[in-house]
């Protein structure tokens, strides 16, 4: 009985809190939902890069993610298709701490080469697609200030303004977040002249092992007329990844979690 009461109180309190959530709290929660589901996870991704004329290039890769201490994360991206980049690997250690940079490595099997990439701009294209690295790994919340500009029946709409405008190509972006799942559904990026130039949309959402999960997302670049569609399949959470697979040694000899 006591337990039930506590639970109820907790629900009530949380619900109450939701009603008055600040923009930062919403963003924090959305960030957790979108990028930190489970302790770790795995997904197969089909990435279709479509240009303005409609012709496309398709890449397939397996994505491993693991949450580590302090909100840090590790990512392992293992390419399977096309055949000429088969076994190519891209690995990231995402660091959210103040003044910390992400570490990135790549493995190019045909060159028998692993190389670490110096910390740099995270808003560069992810393997030539319209996604940028930040879309894949999540943008550090500390890099923006935000305000809640609208609340609809189903969504919160946040306007995010970069703390250091010189570091990014946008002047601000808005994100629509589903109230029930806290999953960000639609983001619009505005350039320095205030013109909308890029959208990111979660076009399909599913619940996997209890976690609301995006199964298809689309980025559209309004300047180039190109778009990229990511389709996620075989999504699994809490598969018990070992942290040591996110090391250079596993670039050359990929872990079973991606090859099997």
């Amino acid at each position: 009985m006591k337990t039930l009461l506590t639970a109820l109180t907790a629900v009530a309190l949380t619900t109450g809190a939701y009603a008055e959530m600040t923009a930062d709290q919403i963003a924090e929660k959305a960030n957790q939902v979108a990028y930190y589901a489970g302790k770790d996870g795995r997904a197969e991704v089909e990435m279709k890069i479509i240009d303005k004329s409609g012709s496309d290039r398709t890449r397939e890769f397996t994505l491993l993610r693991m949450n580590t201490d302090g909100g840090n994360q590790k990512f392992y991206v293992y390419f399977k298709k096309p055949a000429d980049i088969y076994k190519q690997v891209f690995m990231v250690w995402k660091e959210v701490g103040e003044g910390k940079d992400d570490s990135r490595w790549m493995w190019l099997p045909a060159l028998n080469l692993s190389k670490q990439i110096a910390p740099g701009d995270k808003r560069t294209s992810f393997v030539g697609s319209d996604f940028v690295y930040e879309d894949v790994s999540g943008r550090n919340l500390k890099e923006d200030t935000r305000e809640l500009i609208e609340t609809t029946d189903t969504q919160y709409i946040l306007k995010n303004t970069p703390v250091d405008p010189g570091s990014v190509e946008f002047s601000y972006y808005t994100v629509k977040i589903d109230k029930d799942t806290f999953l960000p559904r639609y983001a619009e990026y505005y350039d320095k002249n205030g013109k909308l130039y890029r959208t990111v949309e979660a076009t399909k959402v599913d619940t996997v092992q209890g976690f609301p999960t995006v199964t298809e997302s689309v980025v559209t670049d309004l300047n180039t007329g190109g778009s990229t569609v990511n389709t996620f399949s075989n999504i699994k959470y809490d598969i018990g990844l070992k942290e040591n697979i996110f090391t250079e040694r596993f670039l050359r000899r990929p872990p079973r979690e991606v090859t099997r």
Partner: protein, 988 residues
């Protein structure tokens, strides 16, 4: 007389003619506000012309844009442009251009030092502002209709926003912009210099090899914005000190600037020429009221013609802007003949109406024919394949027709209304005498020379023609829109300076694609794999290899029985089987490897490792592994793991599945992921580097080699080893993996300006130091020859695009078209002449002066070494139209006077009075009248001015001397119906 009906009517109802003329002028004048201008030489070619379609296709396919090129040169600083201050300015300018947007007032605004800044772009000169207003050239027009900037910010090429790939600390690879931030120290500035010089894509393009200059390439959405963008940049750099000189050029800027200045010329040169003609007329005829008539004829004709052009919806193009200049002399010429006659014969009648009727009846036929021939000359331009030239030709023809009509009606009506009889009675004879006194006596003497020394004259003529013909044979057909500006024009200066520092500001694109896209069938692919498999596994794994080959053959047999085997399916099946085979052969080794791989390196010792694998795989394998590890037992942690894995990999690396993927990648590889094709491009580029006019060529290969080098660079290895990686990666997969890195650079898709996304086609950007068509043609020929001698591994389809190449194409068409037009109008005019004179011989004679003139003019062009360009080509039709006029008048009057005086010998003296007078006046008025054109800052205008004068002078000489001499020589045959005294004497 029937032919006089029109004139009689005009004399009787002059006010109606006036009203009609005013109505026509108002009607056509009312079209002017609709004017739109087009200064794009690209439009010399029809919209659907193959090369234009291809050019646009290439631009679209590779996302290429027209550029405004901004060169910044610093000769003063010891580090050239690579000093803190200059680089800072360049960085600031780049960011300002990126930030260009419309402010609340709709005016252009940039962000300067974090603050909005709206530069005042309008010229300080009121005259220029006024002109800009009249011609609707708004300097603030820097935005598309949807308000977006005319500058394509993401595609700007500037050190601040171009990718660079380089070594960072700790063997890391840095992918960043060449100048991430403006440098603050000399060292930082010099690092940027080193980085730029080490990148083959930038050296000679973005930075000059001497380090003294940097060029920014500002892509614009449409060429028509280039003048305004150049103006904006001039404005934004106005406060730079002298050390950093800014030069703006590029074909779009040149073209757009030409367009703007062409309008200025239309507004200044043409009226100035009009004024000069007016003053000359005044000098000859002394009576203001009299000479207003030809001026009005010219104005009405020009206004109506331009009005018609605008009203019909044509843009005013470089060609049509010259309509006024061409039409003015022609229309004035007609009325000058009338006036001249009127002036000379008024004293005989002492009645305006009578004099007019006399003059018109007299001149009707020659004037009709001179107009018809001129119309024929210009209308023949309609046969050329160049749309603006067609429009030009037909409109001038219209204008000439109208001028004739006006001369027949308006001039008489004008004389009736506005010329006071009193003035004619009092002053004319005196002026007449005075005039005749000087010019008349000279002409009379000349007539005697023509008569007495006709053989000498004809000999000289033949010599002239021969010499001219030699000149013509050396004519160089060439054009270069940048050379349409005079030597010291800022565009020409910028062009010289920047082509001196850089690879070249003239762009051509050479595209290569395989004639056929290679797609292998399933059987071919399996065959390919079979060969490769024997090579790879035959010796090392003979048994497994045999098994694998059996699988391949099996699959082959299975798929060959199918009509349309799905290639993907055939591959998937194979991979599954190969995986099974791998498991059999190296499965144990892989299990070992995985186990060791997953061990925690912290505190890992040899013993710990051996314990962990004690139950993995079979004993045989483990024993072999232990044996191989004997020497490495002292290793610990990650080092131990790596050593163990290296050994395991020796056994596990032979994977049939991996092999299949490799083979698949190789068999599937698009043309330009194949090392042998890339090597061909490499050789081609090496050849291009040797072609003198090519400053530089850039391709995806340059990016590929650079990236391969940087990826493989190892500071601990020898320079030789590292340099060896400045090359094409060895396999299609290796090429693909390096290209993948380039696809994900900061500036997305910049690779795809040089290669298509499917890697089947490449685009080589060729920079030429000269925009001369002849140079471009030479480059094309050189490359064709080289490619013929050095065939590519697969047959290639070669395409050319780029503005420099486009110019060549339209020019070829222009030359051929003009030649055809000239020949066809020559024939037409010849026929007209025969009809007019009802004589074959007279018809031929009439063609002599223009033939001599054209031969002489083009011979002169050849001798002087002036290029045969667009304005020169068009002049041929003008020559034809104008110089035949003189001949018509001369022959018509010769016939008439010979009849009147009974012999050519007697007639010739009279010929050299009145008729020669009219011709001479015309020649002088037109040649001197157009001298203001010589002061224009645009070469085509100068050319037209100079050649108009020359054409007049030569036609004048050709008519008065050669024609007179020829008539003298041929009088027996020419005047056989009249027993001339001369022929009688000769017979006697």
């Amino acid at each position: 007389m029937k032919r006089l009906k029109m004139t009689t009517f005009s004399v009787r109802f002059p006010w109606m003619i006036m009203a009609a003329a005013i109505a026509i002028t108002l009607f056509f004048g009312a079209q002017f506000p609709k004017v739109s201008f087009d200064n794009d030489p690209e439009n010399m070619l029809a919209e659907d012309e193959y090369i234009r379609v291809f050019h646009n296709q290439v631009k679209d396919q590779y996302n290429l844009y027209d550029f405004v090129i901004v060169g910044i040169v610093n000769d003063q600083h010891e580090d050239g442009v690579f000093n803190v201050e200059t680089l800072g300015k360049i960085d600031a300018l780049t960011r300002e251009l990126i930030s260009l947007h419309q402010n609340a007032d709709g005016k252009p605004e940039v962000i300067r030092n974090g603050q909005p800044y709206a530069p005042e772009l309008a010229s300080e000169s009121g005259w220029e502002r006024g002109l800009a207003k009249v011609f609707g050239n708004d300097v603030n027009r820097l935005f598309a209709e949807d308000g977006s900037s005319a500058i394509i910010a993401p595609e700007i090429i500037s050190p601040s926003v171009v990718d660079n790939i380089k070594q960072a600390d700790h063997g890391q690879l840095a992918i960043e912009y060449l100048m991430e931030e403006a440098p603050t120290t000399r060292e930082e500035a010099l690092v940027i210099k080193t980085d730029a010089m080490n990148n083959p894509l930038y050296k000679g393009t973005l930075v000059s090899e001497d380090g003294k200059a940097i060029a920014l390439y500002i892509p614009i959405i449409e060429k028509t914005y280039s003048y305004n963008v150049a103006n904006l940049i001039e404005n934004l750099t106005a406060d730079w000190d002298d050390a950093d000189e800014v030069f703006i050029t590029g074909q779009p800027v040149a073209q757009d600037t030409f367009g703007v200045e062409m309008l200025v010329q239309m507004a200044t040169s043409a009226p100035l020429a009009g004024l000069a003609i007016f003053l000359l007329l005044l000098f000859f005829f002394r009576r203001l009221s009299l000479i207003i008539a030809p001026m009005l004829v010219a104005i009405v004709s020009v206004v109506s013609t331009m009005g018609l052009l605008i009203g019909l919806g044509y843009d005013v193009h470089i060609m049509s802007s010259m309509i006024a200049i061409f039409l003015m002399p022609i229309s004035v010429a007609d009325s000058v003949h009338i006036l001249s006659e009127f002036f000379d014969s008024y004293h005989k009648f002492r009645d305006k109406a009578e004099t007019i009727k006399h003059v018109v009846s007299h001149l009707f036929r020659p004037m009709l024919y001179t107009s018809l021939t001129t119309i024929a000359g210009f209308a023949s331009l309609a046969t050329t394949p160049i749309p603006p030239v067609r429009v030009f030709g037909l409109h001038v023809a219209f204008g000439v027709g109208l001028a004739w009509l006006l001369t027949m009606t308006f001039v008489p009506a004008y004389i009736m209304i506005f010329v006071r009889t009193k003035m004619l009675d009092n002053l004319q004879p005196a002026a007449d005498k005075e005039q005749h006194g000087l010019l008349g006596r000279t002409l009379g003497n000349l007539g005697r020379v023509s008569y007495n020394h006709w053989k000498l004259i004809l000999t000289l003529t033949v010599i002239t023609i021969v010499v001219s013909a030699i000149g013509i044979s050396t004519i160089k057909v060439n054009d270069n829109p940048v050379k349409w500006f005079t030597q010291n024009h800022r565009i020409r200066v910028a062009d010289r300076v920047l082509n001196d520092h850089f690879g070249g500001t003239y762009t051509a694109y050479l595209t290569l694609k395989p004639e056929q896209i290679q797609t292998l069938t399933c059987a071919e692919r399996i065959d390919f794999m079979r060969t490769a498999a024997v090579e790879k596994f035959g010796e090392t794994l003979p048994e497994a290899s045999a098994a694998f080959l059996a699988i391949l053959d099996d699959t082959n047999a299975k798929f060959q029985s199918l009509e349309h085997a799905d290639i993907e399916r055939c591959f998937v099946d194979l991979v599954e089987t190969a995986r099974g085979l791998d498991e059999q052969i190296s499965g144990v080794w892989n299990d070992l490897g995985d186990e060791i791989n997953y061990l925690d390196p912290d505190g890992l010792t040899y013993d710990k490792m051996m314990t962990s694998i004690s139950a993995i795989g079979n004993e045989e394998t483990r024993d072999l592994f232990v044996e191989r590890m004997t020497d490495f037992q002292t290793l610990e942690g990650a080092d131990l793991q790596n050593q163990a894995l290296d050994i395991i990999d020796e056994y596990a690396a032979l994977s049939f599945a991996d092999f299949l993927f490799e083979a698949q990648a190789e068999a599937n590889a698009p043309a330009f992921k194949r090392p042998e094709m890339l090597a061909y491009v490499d050789r081609l580029q090496a050849f291009l580097a040797e072609v003198p006019t090519i400053g530089k060529s850039s391709s995806a290969l340059d990016a590929l080699k650079k990236a391969n080098f940087e990826l493989n660079y190892d500071s601990e290895e020898s320079a030789n080893r590292n340099d060896a990686f400045y090359s094409i990666p060895p396999t299609p997969s290796a090429v693909a993996q390096v290209f993948t890195q380039l696809e994900g650079m900061k500036k997305k898709d910049s690779l795809f300006h040089m290669i298509t996304k499917d890697y089947n086609e490449v685009n080589i950007w060729i920079q030429l130091k000269s925009g001369d068509n002849t140079d471009m043609v030479e480059v094309v020929e050189d490359i064709e020859n080289w490619m013929a001698e050095n065939p590519a591994p697969v047959e290639l389809n070669v395409g050319w695009a780029g503005l420099t190449y486009l110019n060549v194409v339209w020019q070829d068409k222009m030359v051929a078209g003009m030649m055809n037009a000239l020949l066809s109008s020559f024939v037409v005019v010849l026929i007209m002449m025969m009809v007019l004179f009802r004589s074959f011989l007279f018809g031929l004679l009439a063609m002599i002066p223009l033939t001599v003139t054209i031969t002489f003019i083009y011979g002169l062009i050849g001798w002087v070494g002036k290029d045969y360009d667009m304005p020169v080509a068009v002049l041929s039709s003008l020559t034809l139209g104008l110089s035949v006029d003189f001949a018509i008048h001369f022959l018509e009057r010769s016939r008439e006077l010979t009849k009147k005086f009974g012999s050519w010998k007697d007639a010739i003296w009279h010929m050299f009075q009145e008729p020669a007078m009219a011709i001479s006046r015309n020649a002088i008025i037109i040649s001197i009248g157009f001298t203001p054109l010589l002061f224009a800052p645009l070469v085509p205008y100068k050319t037209v001015g100079f050649f108009l004068a020359t054409i007049m002078a030569v036609s004048w000489i050709a008519t008065l001397f050669i024609l007179a001499a020829l008539i003298t020589g041929l009088q027996k045959w020419l005047f056989k119906h009249q027993d001339t005294k001369d022929s009688k004497e000769e017979q006697a």
